[in-house]
Amino acid sequence: MRRSTEFARVAGALAGVLLGGAAWAATDAERIDTLEKQVAQMEATRPARGDEGLPLHGFLDVGGAYRSNGGPRGFGVGNLDFYLAPRIGDRIKGLVELTFEVDSATGELETDLERAQLGYVFGDFATAWAGRFHSPWGYWNTAYHHGAQIQTSITRPQFLEFEDHGGIIPAHTVGLWATGVVPLDAGKVSYDLFGGNSARIDLNPPTTPASGELNPNQATATNHHGSVGFNLGYVFPGVFEGLKAGLHGYTATIDDNAVAPNSTRVRFGGGYLVYLENDWEILGEYYEFSNLDLSGGTGTHRSRAAYLQAGWTFGRWTPYARGEKAALDQTDAYFAQQAQGGSYDRVVAGLRYDLDPRAALKLEANHTRFTDRIVSSFSEVQVQWAIRF
């Protein structure tokens, strides 16, 4: 009984396959027709471009550092950066950059919504953004965001660091931003116009001068003042392809939270020159400050900061070097109240090795000399392994 059951089962299955095969052979044309209809159906019901799901990309870096004069030494986790760019149809897009980073001083994990912006695309000539974005002055701040793998070097120029890393210019603006590119007969013009909340300087505690850190004020303009800025660039054509030059400017009224608060109309202008071609990466920016003391009556204070970096790629290797200088008037409350607002010189040299298009190893050394406040210097060596995914 069992054997006959087994035989029936096998025979049935075999018959099914054979019958199916016979049916297959006999109705090839019908089968192909059905297949084509199914393919057409699948093509027709494929999700629309705006509904294909949201890819998650990002960056991660780990590394280590050794600083002289008793400074920080050891290994550390850098930044885990999640990047999302949702698109709602052809015109509306979003951009979110959420980072998890370890505070270098406390070792605590911090979460930052570094960028959260919604945009409307009118065309290549204009996109309007609203939200929190990288202030589009200069070049570096909008060319290199929070993904370390993108950037050739380990460090940013110190004066262009992000606010929570001691940067002395608001790297983020919460507000509105219009940007676009206009092609000309020769070359292209790029522009950025932006405005938003004025940043503030948070002294910690308010009774300690020169302990301040910039805060982009992402919930509200705490001092009820705004910021405005622009960037105008020209991309050269022809034999100068790869060369971009630009001018930028910014003004904002920035207050601190000292016991006797200081209020400064921060104003800077400057320019940049960038060459990215023929394996060269040459970046240079200049900032001239003319800050007006609004609270202490000390008038206008002039300061300046600049950097120049050059790197050359051969194969998987990119050696690079950078010089930075910030000459910051310490009678200007805006700089005086910031912990990293002192004047300095820095030379940087490094080497980047692209393990893979998505992974880079970097080795970097710098020597930094503080030239006011406390005249001192330190040397530092850093390593970094940075990936994108």
């Binding site: 059951t5 029936a8 089962r9 049935g12 299955a13 018959a15 099914g16 396959v17 019958l19 199916g20 297959w24 089968r31 059905t34 297949l35 199914q38 393919v39 699948m42 093509e43 471009r49 890819p55 990309h57 990047y83 760019a85 951009l95 290549d124 909008t142 060319a143 965001h145 993904g147 993108i150 054509p237 022809g238 034999v239 392809e241 790869g242 990215l276 071609e277 394996d279 990466e281 790629t313 194969g315 998987r316 692209d354 893979d356 298009p357 998505r358 994108r388």
Partner: protein, 191 residues
């Protein structure tokens, strides 16, 4: 018995349906060859072309973008090395670069790129498609890419497409010797 017969027949039907579904799926996302991604592509002269134009010939194929300064520089350098190797071995090959960024890889941009990088040989072509075709081609070639603001972040890959449109060999980032792409390829095979 009735139940067992029903089960075996339904098994055959399920197998057949699965085979048909699989065939339908693969026919939707996989094409008979790389060059079967249909529709209109535009070359650097602004002419509409079909990728079938490259069928019947061995073609060195990659995806790149003129705006990229790191990986793409390496990619194009490798393509030039491959051209030099092909010249040495008297291999008559086509070289095809497909743009990753339809917005910036316009015919004008590619023309300027060719002049700037002295890539004017007649057996070299630069084409771009729309977003959908670009994505499909990248998926077929296994090249992952995404946009990070103005950056186009993408993998490195160069393939040798056989005359029938199939991928004969591929060059990855870790391959130090580009000539492995032509491994086993002789002049007699091409002509």
């Amino acid at each position: 018995m009735h139940t067992m017969r029903y089960r075996s027949n339904s098994t055959a039907v399920r197998l057949l349906s699965a085979a048909l579904a699989g065939a339908a799926f693969w026919s939707a996302v996989c094409v008979a060859g790389v060059l079967d991604v249909g529709g209109a592509w535009v070359d650097d002269n602004g002419k509409t072309v079909s990728l079938s134009r490259w069928q019947g010939r061995y073609t060195v194929l990659t995806m790149s973008t003129g705006a990229c300064r790191k990986i793409c520089t390496t990619t194009l350098r490798r393509m030039e090395e491959l051209q030099a190797i092909a010249d040495q071995r008297h291999l008559s090959l086509q070289f095809l670069v497909i743009g990753l960024d339809p917005k910036s890889d316009t015919p004008k941009a590619w023309r300027e790129y060719r002049v700037e990088h002295k890539l004017g040989r007649e057996n070299w072509d630069f084409v771009s498609g729309d977003d959908d075709r670009t994505r499909r081609m990248a998926a077929i070639l296994g090249i992952s890419y995404w946009f990070y603001d103005d950056h186009v972040l993408h993998d490195f890959k160069i393939v040798l497409v056989a005359p029938d449109g199939t991928i004969r060999s591929a060059l990855a980032w870790s391959d130090d010797r580009p000539d492995i792409l032509f491994s086993g390829l002789s002049n007699a095979q091409i002509h």
